[in-house]
Amino acid sequence: MSLLEVKDLKVRVEDNEILHGLTLTVNPGEVHAIMGPNGSGKSTLSHVIAGKPGYEVTDGQILFKGEDLLEMEPDERAAKGVFLAFQYPVEIPGVATMNFLRTALNAQRKERGESEFSTPDFLKKVREVAKSLNIPQDMLKRGVNVGFSGGEKKRNEILQMALFEPAVCILDEMDSGLDIDALRIAADGVNALRSPDRAMVVITHYQRLLNYIVPDFVHVMSKGRVVKSGGKDLALELEASGYTQFEDAA
């Protein structure tokens, strides 16, 4: 069974149709890259998969391990293993990052009927992952993303992904705002999570990221549709020639 199946998805925001029948199939162990010009609907797709309110699905389906994802609340989807690393992570003043991580992790475990993590186990786990991502402990004491630099916010997203061990990871422009070293560290973090039963959907504008996180498939989105799919070479092709060749196809 596919892990994630988006079938002929049509999505409206207010009165505008943004996705016009989008299809995407992701199997366990695969890494998919989605590229496409600004405004083509990449973030919209990721939001709808994760269940952000405000989008109206007028047609199509999203199945996760065969279950209808559109019927589930966002927190249920999270507990089932859908993770979205945001293009623009928000700040939550007054809520210490460490506290947030634990509350979220335990909420997911509870939803799945698993026992809560004990404090020492939890701390040990966070410390390990934080260290591998070069995140200083002090940062975890601060409010969630409050005053974090762009790069720190992105690393904090990867940290959460590593902690929650989701089945599908959607990474929306995780490379934007990262310097070269930070990019390598974050990509290493993502690669460490690659496994035969986990899939990644990596949204990016730059081929460079795909040198680090090598995809199995590359999809080109334009105007709310996938207009071309191929192997990792497609990204190189795009880098050379841009998106204009696909404008007509859309």
């Binding site: 994760a50 007054g94 809520v95 509350t103 909420a107 409010g143």
Partner: protein
């Protein structure tokens, strides 16, 4: 049905006897006749075995009250209160005793559970009694231990306080046992003529707490710890007087995170604090009175006058409040900064949900030199509620070097509620520095989605964000209550989204 009418109906149902006779026979009864007159005041005073001077004091307040009119400046609306349609005195009704924790309403137990209040304390708060003799069942065992514990714990506290020389007793007892202290301080911070509700309270107050901390003594415990176990039925016209003598310190917590119901709809409490030279009083309140039902019916009207007098040099008074209950809250804990170098603080979390109306804030009156004050107010409005911060900061002509910092933040949940900020500032001394910051924000959809994407339910997400918003104030609460207050805040906002 007008609010008071409803209360009366309820009281009537509980009532056994209606007294229509003269004052002499009445004294035997547990309840004053309906309505307010000199006789009602005399009745209450006699019931409490008060000395003549106390009765005179009450009567003077009563006569004063007759000449006053109810204030209308607050941003609250409620049906007109008929003051002749209220019972002003009823002996506290003994709670129905329960023999096991199983008999407590499961809904109430659920709230306790969410608050994380230990079962043994629930048993005390809900009045579970040990069974007379016989083998206690497993459930009963808990109750027995809890009740026995509370007695011994309370006695230990009493011993400790006594050893330190701290006087802590019901004010009705203090009037009889320490008249010189009560006479010296009662009504000196909130004069009997202060305002309509305070004057009413002065005439008819039922009971409350009295605390005196002698010079140089640091009260050996948070008075909250004791309070939670012992004082539950303070009544609708509560009167509290706390005096911290030179160089002393006391921390006092009023109220309870546990849900509180009362047959009486009108509450008008007065709290007076006096801090002498180098003394410090920390007064914390958690208020969780019944807020009314989802249609806005019922609920407590809470008209409170709380004021602290930093009478001595280098004295300090700090108010911290978490207000989540009541249909109407009208409350402005204030500080008179009389002593040079004295300091006043006000930390407030005021939450309104459903049809609740909150008009609350503080007054910082700078009279002495180099006095300073700090106001941190966090208002949270949800449902169709209205939440107003009303503040006054003044510097007297002689208050050279007065400083105030005010930060008022409001958070709106949904778009049918309102938050309002009404800050008055008045400096008669040009050296005063007053800073004011105010923000109003809506709880953002993006933040909520971020939290739910990470596995929190919508309600948990709101609770988390709100608790982050109020963190600076929560930190001011005594440790053991901060955690409960945090949960209380989440509970009070249940049903505010989605």
């Amino acid at each position: 049905m007008p609010a008071v009418q409803e209360t009366v109906e309820r009281v009537r149902r509980i009532d056994v006897d209606q007294y229509r006779y003269g004052f002499e026979t009445l004294i035997e009864s547990d309840k004053a006749p309906k309505g307010l007159s000199e006789d009602t005041v005399r009745f209450i005073s006699a019931k409490k075995n008060e000395p003549a001077w106390m009765l005179e004091w009450r009567l003077e307040a009563y006569r004063r009250w007759l000449t006053m009119t109810e204030p209308t400046w607050a941003r609250v609306n409620y049906p007109k209160i008929d003051y002749q349609d209220i019972y002003y005195y009823a002996a506290p009704k003994p709670k129905k005793t329960l023999s096991s924790i199983d008999e407590i309403d499961p809904e109430i137990l659920k709230t306790y559970e969410k608050l994380g209040i230990p079962l043994r304390e629930v048993a005390i708060l809900e009045g579970v009694e040990p069974p007379p003799g016989g083998e206690p069942s497993a459930n009963r065992k808990i109750a027995v231990d809890a009740v026995f514990d509370s007695v011994s714990v309370a006695t230990t506290f009493q011993k400790e306080l006594k050893a330190a020389g701290v006087i802590f007793m019901p004010i009705s007892e203090a009037i009889r046992e320490h008249p010189e202290l009560v006479k010296k301080y009662l009504g000196t911070v909130v004069p009997t003529s202060d305002n309509y509700f305070a004057t009413l309270n002065s005439a008819v107050f039922s009971d409350g707490s009295f605390v005196y901390v002698p010079p140089g003594v640091r009260c050996p415990m948070e008075l909250s710890t004791y309070f939670r176990i012992n004082e539950r039925n303070t009544g609708q016209f509560e009167r509290t007087l706390i005096i911290a003598d030179k160089g002393s310190y006391v921390s006092y917590l009023e109220g309870c995170t546990a849900p509180q119901r009362d047959e009486n709809q009108l509450h008008a409490a007065v709290v007076e604090l006096v801090a002498l030279d180098d003394a410090e009083i920390k007064y914390s309140t958690v208020q969780n009175w019944y807020p009314g039902n989802s249609e806005g019916l019922g609920g407590i009207y809470n008209f409170v006058t709380k004021r602290g007098d930093c009478r001595g040099n280098h004295s300090k008074i700090s108010w911290t409040q978490v207000e989540t209950g009541s249909a109407i809250t009208w409350k402005y804990p204030s500080c008179i900064l009389r002593g040079d170098n004295s300091r006043g603080e006000f930390y407030s979390i005021a939450i309104s949900n459903g049809h609740q109306q909150v008009d609350s804030g503080t007054k910082m009156l700078h009279l002495g030199k180099n006095t300073s004050s700090r106001i941190i107010s966090k208002g949270i409005a949800a449902g169709v509620s209205q939440n107003t911060y009303r503040g006054l900061v003044t510097a007297h002509r002689k208050a050279t070097g007065a400083r105030n910092y005010t930060a008022c933040d409001s958070l709106l949940i949904g778009d049918k509620c309102g938050a309002h900020t009404v800050p008055y500032v008045e400096a008669k001394n040009s050296s005063a520095t007053f800073e004011h910051e105010a923000t109003t924000s809506k709880i953002s959809e993006d933040v909520l989605f971020y939290c739910t994407q990470r596995g929190l339910s919508q309600e948990e997400a709101v609770g988390l964000v709100v608790n982050g918003f109020v963190k600076d104030v929560l930190q001011q609460l005594p440790m053991e209550f901060a955690v409960e207050a945090q949960k209380l805040i989440s509970i009070s906002l249940e049903g505010s989204v989605g």
